[in-house]
């Protein structure tokens, strides 16, 4: 076992454990903190894939923006959360069964697939090529249309969020 593999196992253990804590934590605030640790763990997993741009982007977007938004929402709605002692709904065994079943099914599928032996592709000197990613996002023969649709989605989400959360009756 190489050093990188040990590092990956550590990252995986920490990430999965904190993901379990996200689901199991009693207070929503603590769940949000565990979520941050899980997201950082995922960023580290990206780094082991030599996708440094996405590793850093993961921290910037998820930890810097999304997790802070979630914490904000948790703080604003804290009164109703503290009253409620039961954090799982009544159907949680069924949910556990569904999630466990899905995992078992996926693992069964993996065991029958034979494409695992393919080694990692060679990357150009100096890691991933960010310029190629930028070109692919904006070139007409690349992914220009999905990129524009994604930016439209962001604008729509922004307007929608302002409309829904803002108090327009004033």
């Amino acid at each position: 076992m190489t050093g990188l593999q040990v590092v990956f196992l550590l990252i995986g253990a920490v990430t999965l454990a904190s993901a379990v804590m996200v689901v199991a934590a009693k207070r929503v605030m603590h769940a949000a903190l565990w979520l941050i640790l899980a997201l950082v763990g995922v960023a580290a997993a990206y780094a082991t894939l030599e996708a440094s741009f996405f590793a850093v982007m993961q921290v910037a977007v998820y930890v810097g923006a999304i997790a802070i938004l979630i914490i904000f929402a948790a703080m604003l709605t804290r009164r109703s959360m503290e009253d409620d002692p039961a954090r799982l709904n009544k159907g949680w065994p069924a949910a556990l069964l569904a999630a466990g079943g899905l995992l078992a099914g996926l693992v069964y599928l993996f065991s029958r697939w034979t494409g695992f032996s393919s080694p990692a592709r060679a990357l150009p000197e100096g890691g991933e090529n960010i310029a190629a990613l930028g070109l692919a996002l904006t070139a007409p023969e690349g992914f220009l249309v999905p990129f524009e649709v994604a930016s439209l989605l962001l604008v729509a989400a922004m307007i929608g969020a302002i409309y829904v959360a803002g108090d327009l009756r004033k």
């Binding site: 894939l49 998820y62 959360a165």
Partner: protein, 102 residues
């Protein structure tokens, strides 16, 4: 080098934990956290396949970028909805949000 299968199993576990959170938790904010975990699992899969089957070309990374955009939009709108519902009903409990009329 780390085998591809490790990434896939890691992502599958993360996805299932997130799924359990979405199905079982009462609190709407925590349900949103579960969705974030699931989206992250998808991203790990996409990046792992990019690295092992597609590497010098950027196509796989484009999908990850768009998933991140979608996740940001989803979080913004979802949290706005939760705040709006909390203002009207004084609850963030998904079980109690069962009326179709505001």
């Amino acid at each position: 080098m780390i085998p591809l299968s490790w990434y896939l199993i890691f992502a599958a576990c993360l996805f299932c934990i997130g799924l359990f959170g979405v199905l079982a938790r009462k609190n709407a904010v925590t349900i949103l956290m579960g969705i974030e975990l699931m989206l992250n699992a998808v991203n790990i899969n996409l990046l792992a396949f990019w690295r092992y089957l597609w590497a010098p070309k950027a196509d796989g990374q484009v999908f990850v970028a768009i998933v991140i955009v979608a996740a940001a939009a989803e979080a913004a709108v979802g949290l706005a909805l939760i705040i709006s519902a909390y203002r009207r009903r004084q609850t963030v409990n998904a079980n109690e949000m069962d009326m179709l009329k505001g």
